[in-house]
Amino acid sequence: MERDRLRSVLESLLFAAEAPLTVHRLSEVFEGIERKEIGSALEELQAEYKTAGRGFRLVEVAGGYQLRTPKENADWVKSLFRARPARMSRATLETLAIIAYKQPMTRAEIEAIRGVDVDGVLSTLLERRLVRIVARKDVPGRPFLYGTTGEFLEMFNLKDLSNLPTLKEMEEITLPQSPDSGSLPEADDKE
């Protein structure tokens, strides 16, 4: 297949796909075309969209390739939809972060870190399919082990789990001691 033609078809596939397309899947579609060639065609498209300042970009996410709108256009796209996207509470986000970094882990292990019951947030995460049960732990009671999903990677624009921002070391950010450490910072009354 000619190079231009390959790129055109590739663009169509990306446009029509409902989820990120893996190179593996693409090589099934383009029977007989080498993966390397598909890969470089993808790279060309990626570069082309970017330099031309197009309204969509080709992003590597959740192990595949997907067309996504660039961040700088977010407000415009948002105004197209009346409903606002689901907001995630801090508790949910924290729990998700713990699972993402330490998976697979049991509910009790998550709770040990957060210090509170995570029943509610965990079911929210399962419901939104950001987290799933991956196995059972081989300890008495055989509790479920939880891990993140492909949807999680998609949601946070992550190529794979190794792409997660690195966890800060356990070093402490010591705040400067305020001169009057007895009183609280915002205790000034308005009168």
């Binding site: 409902e18 969509f56 992003v59 997907q66 067309l67 996504r68 709108t69 660039p70 961040k71 977010a74 796209v77 939809f81 009346r82 409903a83 606002r84 996207p85 689901a86 907001r87 995630m88 509470s89 801090r90 508790a91 949910t92 986000l93 924290e94 998700l96 972060a97 713990i98 993402a100 970094y101 870190i113 957060r114 210090g115 509170v116 019951d117 509610g120 929210t124 998609e154 949601m155 946070f156 624009n157 992550l158 997660l164 921002p165 966890l167 800060k168 356990m170 402490e172 010591t174 705040l175 400067p176 001691q177 305020s178 450490s181 609280l184 910072p185 915002e186 205790a187 009354d189 308005k190």
Partner: protein, 243 residues
């Protein structure tokens, strides 16, 4: 954990050197206040309170005289500090995640299903602890009334809600503390606070905090008429939406 870390930040002290007496006192005061507001104080809060009191008592013992062999050696706060540091690490990781290009917030894909409408009620980035500790400062102005002279001016939460709405309508965005400027008693402060929570719950108002630990501001989340209609229609009691 969250409340404890919150108090430590607020006091600008170091996790590895927690002034245990001060923090314990503030922790207990916050729980007490939450209970008096009928907010759900989960068992974990009590466990943490017990842990703090335990540490506090151990620190009162002269060093070296403790027989406890397993916990012997070193600062009784060490274990807690370790847990706090770990928790803080994930809290920061969560913030990092939030900064990424989040799907349906920063970036969109085709076929763009209309983003779900569910918006789990929340404090728009202002935590309940921020609110409670702000409330605590307001209440500090009012001495605890040990002897009650019962001349209750009856203000209901419902009346306060309407009052707040009018106020916000007139003044636009206002600072949390100024909600309580006219309050005459602790009771009125608490009623005002509950009215505010009620309004958040029905999404009539928005609570904003431009920067962490910064001033908390409040504004209407919808046109006044819409909100009044909503209140009239739903009848605020018994509404159980949100978290």
């Amino acid at each position: 954990m969250d409340l404890l870390l919150h108090l430590i930040k607020k006091n600008e002290v170091s996790i590895t050197d927690i002034p245990i007496a001060t923090i314990t006192e503030q922790y207990l005061a916050t729980i007490e206040l939450m209970q008096s507001l009928n907010l759900d104080v989960a068992g974990e809060f009590l466990v943490m309170a017990a842990t703090l009191i335990h540490i506090k008592s151990r620190m009162l013992l002269p060093p070296g005289e403790e027989e406890d062999e397993e916990e012997e050696g070193g600062d009784p706060r060490e274990e807690l500090a370790r847990r706090l540091l770990e928790y803080q690490r994930f809290k920061e990781a969560a913030e990092e995640l939030e900064k990424r290009d989040v799907l349906k917030r920063d970036v969109f894909v085709r076929p763009a299903e209309v983003p779900e409408e569910v918006e789990p009620g929340g404090f728009e980035g202002v935590s309940l602890f921020d609110l409670i500790s702000a409330l605590r400062h307001v209440l500090e102005r009012f001495p605890k009334e040990r002897i009650h002279e019962v001349t209750l001016e009856r203000i209901t939460v419902r009346e306060k809600m309407n009052f707040l709405l009018d106020d916000l309508h007139r003044r636009g965005k206002i600072i949390f503390q100024s909600l309580f400027e006219t309050a005459a008693s602790r009771l009125e402060v608490v009623v005002t606070f509950l009215a505010m929570l009620e309004l958040v719950k029905i999404r009539a108002i928005r609570i904003l905090q431009e920067e962490k630990e910064g001033p908390i501001a409040i504004e209407l989340a919808a046109p006044l008429e819409d909100i009044q209609e909503k209140i009239a229609k739903e009848g605020i009691e018994g509404d159980s939406s949100g978290a």
